[in-house]
Symmetry: C2
Subunit: 358 residues, 2 copies
């Protein structure tokens, strides 16, 4: 077995030791004679997994008692729907900041449910950027203000979050737990697991409990935050194996230390941006002050060179570097689990490719 | 490693060879250098998994071209909501047959969304039973008629499905692909995976495509069957690892043969019911003609004996036999993946326990 360096944007590379532990106990969890995916979600063995997952994420995010940590089925796209279904009651307005493809998907779903104000729109900016504070047209008394903390496709990342009197809600799918932040700035955050937290098909949702109170009476239970909150994410049979993997990842993050991960992530990104900026061959697609530490996006002089670049990278086991189908180019996703050696290998290849073709 | 015999109702035992194959390739899927859970859901390697899963389930269920096979996040409880949100338009009525705990949960969710007629109610019957044809008060022109093909808690199973002019919809979570049936009798079937199909947190939904056409315009995409149908369950990043496991299970079912599994399931159930009926010590809780081949439910003379029974069973590595917390007693869930040796061991223990305590 040789593991490749996997730069996929999501599903993405996971810590190797997490996969090894999962493999080790896949048929027999803690000498119980069954896989963790075969045991009751109401039994003691699984309960310990679930409780540790909640506690670890709560600790990593520094959650006060009035915040709940939830594990909900479906990725961020499910949260695009659940958020307005629960929080955007009739007659109110939600502010959405349209910073790119993912922000736009979130606001389109909200428009199906209620009144939406686009508080700023930088989605078409070239190079990609995020709005500055005085561009924001916020609604007084808005139900919430929605941002996308990191745009996976554009390669932009909020370095300082906007301030608002209304609860701030962030889709953090692509940079959750890649850096410390103050959860108390937010009414709610959510993240599809498949980038920094675990396998695809499940989300981490962290919310101020009072925000779950005002959902409409006719909202089905499964779509209701309050039902999940009161049941500690055990309202129905949850995706137990996915939560188990997220628990293992949370342990791994605790072991690394969030501050260490943040420093390492910033260093990994800086090395790649340095290669991009060095010679004029590569062109970063995001404005430097908004560049993401998670998704490094760039173009080569021609599409033909981009094709050659991706092909040769693949041969060197540098995988998943193709930019999103909607924008093309190259994207290196370097989440928490991407080792420094992977970034080093990519930087080396980029320099060589430039030397040969520049 | 010693695998126990695991009679859990769900999450439930999976075929050992499926788990072994998943373990074998967990860190490196097909020499691609990454886990199947780490690769792009839009790439060739995963595409082959996804396509095979769709094809295998379509083949196993004998789906004509006008039916779609979908993999949707969340268990059956999510379908309790999505079904009426998509199919129960304003002004129409859905018929629900209340045959027990799960049927009742489904109809409660539907009531939040639209008008529901309870076409029959045997949920309180003792011994547990299902309605006969002339008990059904069906609504002419109903949007659909909903049944629960197997009641996991009561231990009852429809042996012949009711007939209706409206589309018949079945929650088949606990007996899907345990026996052959004609999919053309149904407008839609759905099943949480965690009993006969794979891990918890994902559902198989099979529906006549035309039924996805009339959802209200303001329904969020993620809750809309049509969005998933048009995208072949790739509208957003799906639970790729869960679908991979379901694909492995579908291969295993194909290898066993559905008719063989059905015969084996019937034999396993018959052996247990024979022990229950032999001596008057055990008492089956479902009326004989409705007894489930999947969940064999019974009581002992006293609750104290039930406690001893469960404790001693556990010591013999016969696990997960406790009846549902809402009804007590004993429940042996013997889905497809429960080997005959497990049923044999349980029958032996039951006879011994009866001999000592009867």
């Amino acid at each position: 077995m040789t593991r490749a360096f996997n730069f996929n944007a999501g599903p993405a590379t996971l810590p190797q030791e997490v996969l090894e532990e999962a493999r080790e106990e896949l048929l027999d969890y803690r000498q119980g004679g069954a896989s963790v995916m075969e045991i009751s979600h109401r039994g003691k063995l699984y309960d310990a997994v679930h409780t540790e997952a909640v506690e670890n994420f709560s600790k990593l995010l520094g959650c006060p008692d009035d915040y709940a940590v939830l594990f909900l089925p479906g990725g961020a796209t499910m949260q695009f729907a659940m958020l307005p279904l629960n929080l955007l009651s009739a007659g109110r307005t939600a502010d959405y900041i349209n910073s790119g493809s993912w922000a736009e998907k979130a606001l389109k779903e909200a428009k199906l449910v209620g009144r939406v104000n686009v508080a700023a729109d930088t989605s078409k900016a070239q190079p990609a950027r995020l709005p500055v504070a005085d561009e924001l047209q916020l609604t007084p008394g808005a139900a919430y203000v929605h941002i996308t903390s990191n745009e996976t496709i554009a390669g932009t990342q909020w370095k300082e979050f906007p301030r608002s009197d209304s609860p701030l809600v962030a889709d953090m799918s692509s940079d959750i737990l890649s850096r410390p932040f103050d959860i108390k700035q937010f009414g709610m955050i959510y993240a599809g697991a498949q980038k920094n937290l675990g396998p695809a098909g499940i989300s981490l949702v962290v919310m101020r409990k009072d925000l779950a109170e005002n959902a409409p009476a006719n909202l089905p239970q499964m779509l209701r935050y309050k039902a999940h909150l009161e049941a500690n994410s055990l309202y129905n049979t949850p995706p137990t194996f996915s939560i188990y993997l997220m628990m293992l990842v949370s342990r791994w993050i605790l072991k690394q230390g969030l501050e260490n991960l943040y420093r390492r992530n910033a260093e990994k990104a800086a090395r790649l941006y340095a290669v991009i900026d060095a010679g004029g061959f590569y062109r970063g697609t995001a404005a430097p002050e908004y560049r993401s530490d998670m998704n490094v996006t760039f173009r080569l002089p021609t599409e033909d060179l981009e094709k050659q670049f991706l092909k040769q990278a693949e041969e060197l086991r540098l995988q998943g570097l193709k930019g999103h189908r909607s924008v093309g180019g190259v994207r290196a996703s370097i989440y928490n689990a991407m080792p420094e050696a992977g970034v080093e290998a990519l930087c080396g290849f980029m320099r060589e490719f430039e030397a040969k073709n520049g």
